[in-house]
């Protein structure tokens, strides 16, 4: 119990150190969550759009010209 208290107090600096680490964890977590959310939404929208349009023959697609023959 005393050890936990010591870790929390951290030589009198716990009130500054732990909020700093909490902020860091929160922002890093937000970066990952917002990235994954954005990716999921974008790819789901694209999948839906492509499914609605059906298979295309001979079309280059939206990123035509950006394939392996690109710069």
């Amino acid at each position: 119990m005393d050890t936990i208290k010591e870790v929390l107090i951290l030589g009198g600096y716990g009130a500054y150190v732990w909020p700093a680490f909490a902020t860091w964890a929160a922002v890093m977590g937000w970066m990952a969550v917002s990235t994954l959310r954005r990716l999921r939404i974008s790819e789901a929208t694209l999948d839906k759009l492509q499914a609605a349009r059906g298979p295309r023959r001979g079309a280059g697609g939206p990123d035509a010209g950006q394939g392996e023959a690109g710069p």
């Binding site: 951290l10 030589g11 009198g12 600096y13 716990g14 500054y16 150190v17 909020p19 700093a20 680490f21 902020t23 860091w24 922002v27 890093m28 937000w30 970066m31 990952a32 917002s34 990235t35 994954l36 954005r38 990716l39 939404i41 974008s42 790819e43 929208t45 694209l46 759009l49 492509q50 349009r53 697609g61 939206p62 990123d63 950006q66 394939g67 392996e68 690109g70 710069p71």
Partner: protein, 248 residues
């Protein structure tokens, strides 16, 4: 090399191969770095336990500067060579860079209170980092402010290039002006002045931050490419003869 990676399909293929390694390095380095930072490394003889904030503050500051430099470089590439992927990388990196700047500012404020007895002071280093944060916000806002995505991208790229002047100002502000913020103790002429017991976790965290950023950047670029395909497909759909006949 730049032209080789400017191809979105090739970039994504390489990105997908690199992605698991980025996650692995990020997890390993940040995990080990935290262990060293919070448990193994000693308290500072002057700052006491508050020095532990350094292990997240300093790598965040490096990332804030590094990511902005990356955005400025890809913006120049986008404007000069018209690489569409360069715009996408800039757009994908900006929120992450802004996130690192927020961490840097908040943890710096907390550390400042323990070291200087104040949360904030308008000295050159702190003010120029705050300006960097506003540059990130401006870059993102400008990129999203136009109906024409290309115009928005170009305007944001120009802002990124103009704002790049702030990067050396941040780096050398502690040398050029009398600031409350301490001078560089790691990236300095003559080598680091910090003890290896503190330098090791600091560098581990820095490598972990870079790997974490790269992993998220790859995913964000993938999202941007998907978004671009959606926009292109919708434009094609809106102008297709069949669609117009159907609507009229």
């Amino acid at each position: 090399m730049i032209h080789f990676l400017a191809n979105p399909a090739r970039f994504m293929r390489i990105g997908q191969a690199v992605l698991p390694w980025c996650w692995a390095v990020a997890g390993l380095c940040i995990g080990t770095g935290l262990w060293f930072a919070l448990i193994v490394s000693p308290a500072d003889y002057q700052q006491g336990e508050s020095v532990r904030i350094m292990y997240i503050h300093v790598p965040s500051a490096w990332m804030a500067l590094g990511v902005y430099t990356l955005i400025a470089v890809v913006s120049a590439m986008a404007l000069v060579w018209k690489h569409p992927l360069a715009f996408l990388i800039g757009r994908a990196a900006a929120p992450l860079g802004a996130g690192f700047t927020v961490i840097c500012l908040i943890t710096g404020s907390l550390w400042g209170q323990t070291s200087w007895g104040t949360w904030w002071v308008w000295d050159a280093r702190l003010t120029s980092v705050l300006v960097l944060f506003f540059l990130y916000l401006g870059y993102m806002a400008l990129g999203a402010a136009f109906d024409d995505a290309d115009r928005g991208n170009r305007a944001a790229a120009l802002l990124a290039l103009v704002g790049a002047v702030n990067v050396p100002i941040i780096k050398f502000s502690v040398d050029w002006w009398s600031t409350l913020h301490q001078p560089a103790s790691v990236l300095r002429v003559g080598g680091p002045s910090i003890h290896p017991s503190m330098l090791t976790p600091l560098l581990l965290m820095a490598v972990g931050f870079i790997a974490y950023f790269l992993a998220l950047l790859i995913l964000r670029v993938r999202a941007e490419i998907a978004q671009r395909k959606v926009q292109a497909a919708m434009m094609v759909g809106a102008t297709a003869p069949g669609m117009q006949t159907h609507e009229t």
